[in-house]
């Protein structure tokens, strides 16, 4: 195929920004969401619902602090239950944000521009939700600072050979770096809001956050270097975080956990669930705020393709686990797989396979990749499937290990469920506040996509 033909084919894809936009319209359209007077009724209703759901989390946490972790369904042998399932699920969701903002930046994927800001916000809030669970699982969460190495009167130090302490470092570094990346991206947009805000409070608040940013060429030069370096640092970081999360399992000797495939398959699963969550959030937001010009069908199509690809990697992971259980000849491993297929948790297992492997195959079809209801449905299904995956990995492996005399059963209690749904309330509350008070699309990066943003060189 000759080059012009490829070019022509490429041009037929929907644009990443609708035609007719200028620096002015891009700035005004995005900043208007934040700067408008009065709050839309839909926002108030959504915020109220999320806030109530967050109160459920607070109630469940209060009960937990008062009565101890016995209110959860965990027991011996299943000492890790919903808390760790939810932790891994939320952390995984966060990973797509970093992937979009860092990895796609390094790969010069311009379409990432209109979704990176809220994907990064999603990362932050998801990591905040994830961080709650291991801390609450400690039993005495008020002593959580014991996890950090600091000189203390007990003359003790953390055990650095344990994956659990690696986790502390990985998750806290990830939260810090995600916050830095997000904040650095916001600085020029804070300056825009400072200059555009009509209220005194707005000018003062955004002014302080912008720190005197004035768009100087020298500043932009260093800014871009810093942004690129941060992206370069965040890329291995995001891979390391879910790898270390998988080490929590892989370093142990439990059947189904002690496998070298866990790190890559955890990372792929994280990106899979994260893109599903970005899609779940982007579809209603673009509709409600009329941002279809900026988050176009092209974005949704690309995200669907990433989901399809990572979903296939995850499916390969499931296949390899099963294959190795047979090929490895270890009776405990093969029992674990049979127990997944036909043990007491078989409905959850087969639901997981349906949600994560079978149904997402519809994304092969272009017609469904460009249908909003289909995409929204698939994204919800994948979110559910990825939660079930962690449930299966944790519960099914623990409940029947080596000795039948130590077998047991596990089910979440009302407090487990209220913490899961309550954490969604926390997540959505933070997200609603973000949408209302901060620009949800990076304004300065959108300006670079406008035709006319490129310097035309005169012939010398």
């Amino acid at each position: 195929m000759s080059l012009p033909v490829i070019e022509a084919r490429r041009d037929r894809r929907p644009p990443i920004i609708a035609p007719g936009h200028t620096f002015e319209t891009v700035t005004d359209r995005i900043s208007r969401v934040v700067l408008r007077r009065g709050t839309p009724r839909g926002w108030i209703v959504g915020f109220a619902l999320s806030f109530s759901l967050m109160m459920v989390l607070f109630y469940a946490t209060a009960v937990l602090l008062f009565r101890g972790i016995g209110v959860w369904g965990i027991n011996i042998p299943v000492a890790w239950g919903f808390d760790i399932v939810n932790f891994v699920w939320w952390i995984g969701i966060g990973h797509a944000g970093t992937l979009i903002s860092a990895i796609l930046l390094l790969l010069k994927q311009e379409w990432r521009t209109s979704i990176n800001r809220f994907a990064e916000a999603m990362t932050l809030f998801a990591v905040a939700c994830a961080g709650l669970y291991p801390v609450l699982h400690l039993g005495r969460p008020w002593l959580a600072y014991w996890l950090f190495p600091y000189p203390n009167t007990m003359s003790m130090w953390p055990q650095f050979r344990s994956p659990l302490i690696w986790d502390v470092f990985a998750v806290s570094t990830y939260l810090t770096v995600s916050l830095l990346f997000w904040f650095v991206g916001l600085i020029p947009d804070f300056a825009t809001l400072r200059d555009r805000s009509a209220s005194r409070v707005g000018r003062a608040t955004y002014g302080m956050l912008a720190m005197g940013w004035r768009g100087s060429a020298q500043h932009w030069h260093r800014y871009e270097t810093a942004y690129l370096l941060l992206a370069g640092l965040a890329t291995p970081l995001v891979v390391s975080v879910h790898t270390i999360v998988s080490f929590d399992f892989a370093v142990s000797v439990i059947p189904g956990w002690h496998a070298t495939i866990l790190p890559p398959y955890f990372v792929a699963g994280a990106i899979y669930s994260g893109f599903a969550m970005v899609m779940t959030l982007a579809i209603p937001i673009r509709k409600f705020y009329g941002l279809e010009d900026f988050i176009t069908m092209r974005h949704l199509d690309n995200m669907a393709r990433v989901m399809l690809a990572t979903g296939l990697i995850v499916a390969y992971g499931y296949m390899m686990e099963t294959f190795m259980a047979w090929y490895g000849g270890n009776p405990y491993e093969s029992f674990m797989v049979l127990n997944r297929f036909s043990g007491p948790y078989w409905p959850q297992y087969w639901l997981l396979i349906t949600c994560n492997v079978i149904l997402p195959q519809v994304l092969w079809f272009k017609r469904l990749r460009t249908s909003i209801p289909a995409l929204f449905g698939v994204s919800l299904i994948v979110n559910l499937g990825m939660w079930l995956e962690r449930y299966i990995i944790i519960v099914v492996s623990l409940h029947r290990d080596f000795l039948p005399s130590s077998w047991g059963m596990y089910a979440g209690t009302i407090y487990d469920w209220s913490m899961l749904f309550g954490s969604m309330g926390l997540f959505l509350t933070l997200l609603f506040l973000f949408i209302r008070y901060l620009p949800m699309i990076s304004i300065f990066e959108m300006r670079t996509l406008v035709p006319g943003a490129h310097v035309e060189e005169e012939a010398p």
Binding site: T22, F23, E24, T27, S155, M156, W157, P158, Q159, F160, R161, P163, I165, W166, F169, A170, T173, T176, V177, L180, F183, V184, P188, A191, T192, R194, D195, R196, M211, G212, W213, R214, G215, S216, A217, Q218, H219, W220, H221, R222, Y223, E224, T225, A226, L229, L230, L233, A234, P236, L237, S240, F247, F444, E445, R447, T448, G452, A453, V455, E456
Partner: protein, 178 residues
């Protein structure tokens, strides 16, 4: 040196191309102390102003090295010297187990130095800057492009520089008060 009566002269342009051309011409005219302001990063602009600063990557490298060494040293000192714990006769200095934390502290310190280094080299936070005295400058964060020739430039002359800037076909030229 006597403080010049004004900070400089600010010319406003409509497109990035005009701004880059103006910056090049000002440079060719002999002006050196100047800065350009735009609502988004323009690669050619730093080039046109001959602005090169390679210190930031070095700051990040040093930050990362510090983080890595400090993280590993912490693990070594606590596990081998201050609190040796014999776990099934395994070596106290079990270096493979120390790698994940070393990696994380490296990335953490490198990222912190990237952000703090960028802000420090840019002189931010800066609560006051003279260019904000020009009312039109509020558009620098929206859709307009500005070139400021500062009064400390040896070639600067309130009248001649103004005439030069007006020849570049700007939307407006304003004096920037201190």
């Amino acid at each position: 040196m006597r403080r010049p009566p004004i900070y400089g002269l600010l010319a406003e342009f409509d497109t990035p191309t005009e701004l880059v051309t103006a910056a090049r011409k000002a440079r060719a005219e002999g002006y050196r102390v100047m800065d350009a302001y735009s609502p988004f990063p323009i690669e050619e602009l730093a080039e046109a102003l001959h602005f090169h600063d390679r210190r930031l990557p070095l700051v990040v490298l040093l930050g990362g090295l510090f983080g890595g060494v400090a993280g590993y040293a912490l693990e070594y000192w606590t596990s081998v010297i201050d609190y040796p714990l014999n776990v099934g006769g395994r070596p106290l200095h079990s270096w493979p187990a120390f790698i994940p934390v070393t990696f994380e502290t490296t990335v953490l310190c490198a990222a912190l130095s990237a952000v703090l280094g960028m802000l420090a080299l840019n002189g931010l936070p800066m609560p006051y800057h003279p260019v904000f005295n020009v009312p039109r400058f509020a558009l620098a964060s929206r859709d307009q492009f500005f070139l400021c020739i500062e009064a400390t430039d040896p070639h600067f002359d309130r009248v001649i520089t103004r005439r030069f800037l007006e020849r570049l076909d700007p939307l407006s030229v304003s004096e920037v008060d201190h």
